[in-house]
């Protein structure tokens, strides 16, 4: 079947969203599953009211992968609350170890979604997290990484909440069409229901695969645990080394205020907090 039949663009009055999904790997059992961040991305797409969502996957089409991909189809939205479940998942078939970028670029050019959602990096293979950035560069779209929430989409501008380290959030607005990668801080994906997962449509479209030659010569081994770095001691004499190993934490030129009134002490503390920029203002 030609791909233009499989991938239908969203109706003009509804926001077209494409969610790029991949096959994940359970960190403990090593079994294939729906990838965690991709499932969160689909969950985020479901939370946008009045959207038309398409699920896209580029990769091998075998029984094990199909089982994992059907996990996404089992995430059924509640239609009365305006959630829009993708009717089917389009698999763009690629050879093992192929570079899926050209196939995905072609599919997205045909689909012309306004918002592309995906996880930050794959759970199998190289997992470099480069794919969304390369897609953005090839399509010429802006990319926002590590998003936890889509606040609103209106007039071709999406307002997003970006997850920062330390539990902080930053509000960004981006002009559509755009690519948005979803952080693990986004709301967790709903469980996958077995029946809808079995019934869901999985449309397969063939596309030319481009082999990834550079990757063929890499050596890939199971990760071994890296030792934590010990305290670096640059002492030259045995006495200094012993002192450094045996000593409790020493004050590094700390300031001590003794015999001051609480107000003066509070002022000193406040000056330090202000200098560090942690006080609300």
């Amino acid at each position: 079947m030609p791909p233009d039949v499989l991938v239908e663009s969203a109706p003009a009055d509804r926001l077209g969203i494409a969610v790029l999904v991949s096959v994940g790997r359970h960190p403990l059992t090593g079994r294939t599953r729906r990838a965690d961040q991709d499932a969160r991305a689909y969950e985020l797409a479901l939370s946008i009211a009045g959207a038309c969502t398409a699920l896209l996957h580029a990769g091998q089409n075998d029984a094990e992968n199909e089982l994992a991909l059907r996990g996404y189809l089992g995430m059924v939205g509640a239609s009365e609350s305006g959630e829009n479940t993708a009717e089917r998942l389009v698999v763009i078939e690629q050879a093992i170890g192929a570079d899926v970028l050209p196939a995905l670029v072609n599919a997205l050019r045909e689909l012309t979604p306004e918002l592309v959602l995906c996880g930050m990096r794959a759970e199998t293979g190289e997992g470099s997290g480069m794919l969304p950035y390369l897609l953005a560069e090839w399509l010429g779209w802006p990319i926002v990484s590590g998003v936890a929430q889509v606040e609103s989409v209106s007039d071709g501008v999406a307002t997003l909440l970006q997850a920062l380290p330390r539990g902080q959030r930053r509000r960004l607005s981006v002009r559509l069409p755009a690519i948005v990668t979803v952080d693990s801080a986004a709301p967790g994906a709903r469980p996958s229901a077995f029946g809808p997962a079995r019934r869901g449509g999985l449309a397969v479209s063939a596309a030319a695969s481009m082999p990834d030659e550079a990757r063929a010569e890499w050596l890939t081994t199971p990760a071994r645990k890296r030792p934590r770095r010990l305290k670096i001691i640059t002492a030259l004499s045995a006495r200094d080394r012993f002192k450094a190993a045996a000593a409790k934490t020493q004050g590094g030129g700390g300031k001590v205020l003794t015999g001051v009134s609480p107000e003066i002490g509070a002022e000193a503390i406040q000056a330090l907090l202000k200098e560090e920029g942690v006080l609300p203002s």
């Binding site: 997290g129 560069e137 330390r166 006495r239 004050g251 700390g254 509070a266 503390i269």
Partner: protein
């Protein structure tokens, strides 16, 4: 004693006894009198025939319990000389200064600089850059650091930076009052334009960026896509092989190790190399020959969103207000945390006594926190607690006991009653907020 006029030398058995007794309060004075010098003689001197003579009784010093201690490291502490303070003042700086006038190539590093300072991750990355730059001593390369926004770091030279390119892309259209947070502002497209300019004008041999959620991971991948370079991501080691440099990185969500030839653009993890310790570099400021290009961003930063600090996980919190046994006014403490916008933490005692929840405990059996600022109120600093705050940047301590271990760890220690100082701090902050509201 050695009086020339006295025909018969007399012995003072009392003074001889004192001279034998190192612990006697008059020991030094009597010894000096007996030997006829103001100070007791040296332990080592040249004899009449040029032989080295040694007085074994003068070697070493008396320990705290009167037991003789001999320190052979050459760093002897003579308590009678009271040299302690002088010795501590003279801490030799052993770093050698390195100047690279005409570098053969450039290694470009883009540190994160959270809060305007080099993080430990940045220092490791600069250590990695030095490994690449100093690989061949005959053709030394230079490390170029490209930094954005307001910086508060003055140790770029000791961290291994030869050239410093400071881009002020944020200063032009930055709203006032954002001084501290300006370099955390999200302007990835403007930053990318600067890096593309650097690539065009200087053509660095390698690009190194931290693979960190602070911004390096995002900027590095943007740069890789723009330069059409395939980056080596999550790199934790670079080593020299017979057929060139190779690097080790993580793949597949950290479950595999990938060994591959070193690419031009490297996104490295923390602890990828040892930070620079023995050299000091020039950190010479430089500018780009061409003016920095500008481009309107399609991504607009609408500012940070207020997050309730009480809901932030303790190990993620940036500013922690922690209470210990020294706190008695608990309502005041919770109020202070709300006013200061801090996440609450507690020592084991406060948790055991039921004043704080178990998930708020900081330390060995609780949470190891990574806060940038840790304000310890009435915590004396048991070793288990100090372990938990090891990776905190700045520690402030409020305590009644001036000698407690927390005060030794703290960058600022205020000695006084915890409740009173906390109340004063809250009053001060509220006054400032009122002023800001009125204005």
């Amino acid at each position: 004693m050695h009086n020339g006029t006295d025909p018969l030398p007399r012995r003072d058995s009392r003074k001889e006894r004192i001279a034998r007794n190192r612990l006697h309060p008059e020991h030094d004075a009597v010894l000096a009198e007996m030997l006829g010098t103001s100070r007791v003689g040296p332990s080592l001197w040249a004899g009449p025939n040029g032989l080295a003579r040694r007085n074994p009784h003068r070697v070493g010093f008396s320990g705290p319990n009167g037991i003789k201690r001999i320190d052979r490291s050459g760093a002897q502490i003579d308590t009678s000389l009271n040299l302690r303070t002088e010795r501590q003042a003279v801490v030799a700086d052993r770093r050698t200064t390195v100047e690279i006038e005409t570098p053969a190539f450039l290694i470009a590093v883009v540190p994160d600089l959270p809060g305007g300072r080099l993080s430990a991750h940045d220092r490791d990355l600069l250590g990695l850059a030095r490994q690449l730059a100093d690989a061949d001593p005959a053709v030394p390369g230079a490390v170029l650091a490209i930094v954005f926004g307001a910086i508060r770091e003055d140790g770029f030279g000791t961290a291994g930076v030869d050239r410093l390119l400071h881009s002020l892309i944020h200063s032009a259209d930055q709203s006032p009052g954002l001084g501290a947070s300006s370099n955390t502002q999200c302007r990835p497209e403007a930053r990318l334009a600067v890096l593309a300019d650097v690539e065009r004008e200087l053509l660095p041999c390698h690009w190194l960026l931290p693979d960190s959620p602070m911004g390096g991971a995002d900027l590095g991948r943007r740069l890789a896509a723009r330069l059409s370079e395939r980056p080596a991501t999550q790199v934790w080691q670079i080593n020299q092989d017979a057929d060139g440099k190779r690097c080790n990185g993580l793949g597949a969500a950290g479950s595999t190790d990938i060994n591959r030839p070193l690419s031009r653009l490297v996104l490295a993890l923390a602890e990828c190399a040892e930070p620079v310790a023995m050299t000091r570099h020039a950190a010479r400021p430089m500018t780009l020959p061409a003016p920095l290009s500008r481009m309107p961003g399609r991504i607009q930063d609408l500012g940070a969103v207020a997050v309730d600090p009480a809901t932030v996980a303790l190990d993620e919190a940036e500013f922690i207000l922690a209470a210990g046994r020294g706190v008695s006014d608990w309502a005041g403490f919770h109020n202070a945390a709300a006013v200061l916008g801090a996440t609450e933490g507690a020592s084991r005692v406060a948790v055991d006594d039921g004043f704080m929840a178990r998930d708020r405990q900081v330390g060995a059996s609780g949470t190891w926190v990574t806060a940038r600022v840790y304000l310890a109120v009435g915590i004396s600093g048991a070793i288990q607690h100090l372990q938990g705050i090891k990776s905190c940047d700045k520690v402030v301590s409020i305590n009644l006991d001036p000698d407690c271990d927390m005060n030794k760890r703290a960058d600022l220690a205020v000695i006084g009653d915890a409740d009173e100082i906390l109340a004063a701090l809250v009053a001060l902050q509220q006054r400032i907020e009122e002023k800001a509201d009125a204005a």
